[in-house]
């Protein structure tokens, strides 16, 4: 505790109000308060200022927080400091270009052979070039797909009475129906640990592909959706994206692409996506 005896009376009485005072000092001030009108007046003013200030500043907490601030905090690009950026210019600066005579001759020969070979192949080309179907072609065009998921969530999450196409009581039917329609085997995840209850499901068309949407609601009436479609590249890393007011956490398996969609201010989206990605 501070020795307050050299402090002005109002500072000592203010410390008494906060209990930041030793026993001797407290007893001395309480004695003073019992006999001094001036001390009583100061003490009352300190208490009054304390009360009205506290009430006024508590009101600040009721003001809405700008959504931009929430988005900035949840922005996945904001991570721990990366290492120094490796640039092409930096790499080239580090390379000293001073070939010896034999090296220069060898480089010329390699260029000659490679150029000749390339020219021969181009000249001999009889058929138009076709691209073999790749794994990427099987994936949904991700931006279009995610944009459609965000748009669907924005619309359907406001449908309080008609949130889902099939109610949660038909969970078995939902699994059978969406597995066949979308081509992705799944079970309905239980998100009760995160205080979200299952509300049913919809079949969406996102980027021209059938997409399953499982809907959940919490006590605050926040709606989140787990969406999935056939085709993925197996990159299981979670990626978080924000589309205006909608937060999207995506991941993929070799067979399917998944996204958890919800309000961008919902702090538990990533945690839920982690749990769901381990489940599905």
């Amino acid at each position: 505790m501070q020795d307050l005896r050299k402090q002005p009376l109002e500072t000592r009485l203010s410390a008494l109000l906060d209990g930041e005072i030793g026993l001797d000092e407290r007893q001395e001030l309480e004695r003073l308060l019992s006999v001094s009108g001036e001390a009583q007046d100061i003490f009352e003013r300190l208490k009054r200022g304390s009360d009205i200030g506290r009430k006024a500043m508590d009101e600040v907490l009721k003001e809405p927080v700008p959504l931009a601030l929430v988005r900035e905090i949840r922005n996945p690009q904001l991570r721990e400091k990366p290492g120094p950026r490796v640039t092409l210019r930096g790499v080239l600066r580090g390379i000293r270009f001073a070939p010896s005579g034999p090296q220069a001759v060898a480089a010329c020969l390699i260029c000659l052979i490679a150029g000749g070979g390339l020219g021969y192949m181009l000249g001999a080309q009889q058929q138009p070039v076709t691209t073999a179907p790749s794994a990427l072609a099987a994936l949904p065009a991700r931006n279009g797909w995610l944009d459609d998921i965000a748009a669907a969530h924005r619309v359907y999450s406001r449908q309080q009475r008609h949130l889902a196409e099939v109610p949660p009581a038909d969970a078995n039917h939902i699994v059978e129906w969406l597995s066949q329609s979308v081509g992705v085997d799944f079970t309905v995840p239980d998100l009760s640990a995160d205080h979200f209850g299952f509300e049913g499901a919809r079949l969406l068309v996102a980027d021209g592909k059938p997409t399953g949407q499982l809907l959940y609601r919490n006590d605050d009436n926040d709606i989140i959706a787990i969406c999935f479609t056939k085709g993925g590249d197996g990159s299981s890393d979670l990626n978080e994206i924000i589309r205006d007011d909608i937060g999207l956490v995506t991941w993929q398996t070799p067979a399917a692409s998944f996204v958890v969609a919800g309000p961008s201010s919902e702090a538990t989206l990533t945690k839920i996506a982690e749990a769901v990605s381990g489940h599905m």
Partner: protein, 167 residues
């Protein structure tokens, strides 16, 4: 493997939950809403980048407030260099023009403006100790000032507030 005491996911969740309080404390430093939101944004960005430095002990808001105060001190220093002067005090508080029995939100809003218009340093101490319940020692550490200064600023703030309403 060395694990950080606090991963990014956790701190993001806590930052979102603490936003109203972070904004309130920022207001006491900047004393205008626009600067306060900029300060919160910058402080949160630094908190995420430096989350490994948070040891998980004590109140995380104390760490965040200290970080925010450091960011604001830097900003004030930059402004001094840029404009040749620091932030300007909003001036001495005037008296209330709304009756305490009048519309509650208007009354509270005017009181807030008056608290924030108190000379620099008073409202930050007031919010930390009187509103948020930090000890004098914690408030002194957050604001980087001696405990004696916390005590004198707090009593001054309380008496000024009482005078504003009485006036």
């Amino acid at each position: 493997m060395l694990q950080t005491a606090y991963d990014n996911h956790d701190i993001r969740r806590d930052l979102v939950g603490l936003l109203p309080r972070l904004r309130r404390f920022a207001l006491t430093l900047t004393r205008n809403g626009s600067d306060a939101d900029d300060l919160v944004q910058e402080a949160c960005a630094r908190a995420i980048l430096k989350s490994a430095l948070w040891d998980g002990q004590g109140r995380i808001e104390s760490w965040l407030y200290t970080l925010m105060r450091n960011v604001w001190v830097d900003e004030v220093r930059k402004r001094r260099v840029r404009f040749g002067s620091g932030t300007v005090d909003a001036g001495e508080a005037t008296t209330l023009t709304i009756d305490p029995g009048g519309e509650k939100s208007v009354y509270a809003h005017q009181l807030q403006r008056m608290i924030l218009s108190m000379p620099e340093g008073l409202s930050a101490v007031f919010v930390l100790v009187n509103v948020e319940g930090h000890s004098y020692k914690e408030a002194a550490a957050i604001l980087g000032i001696p405990i004696g200064t916390v005590m004198s600023r707090l009593s001054t703030a309380r008496l000024r507030l009482a005078a504003m309403v009485a006036g």
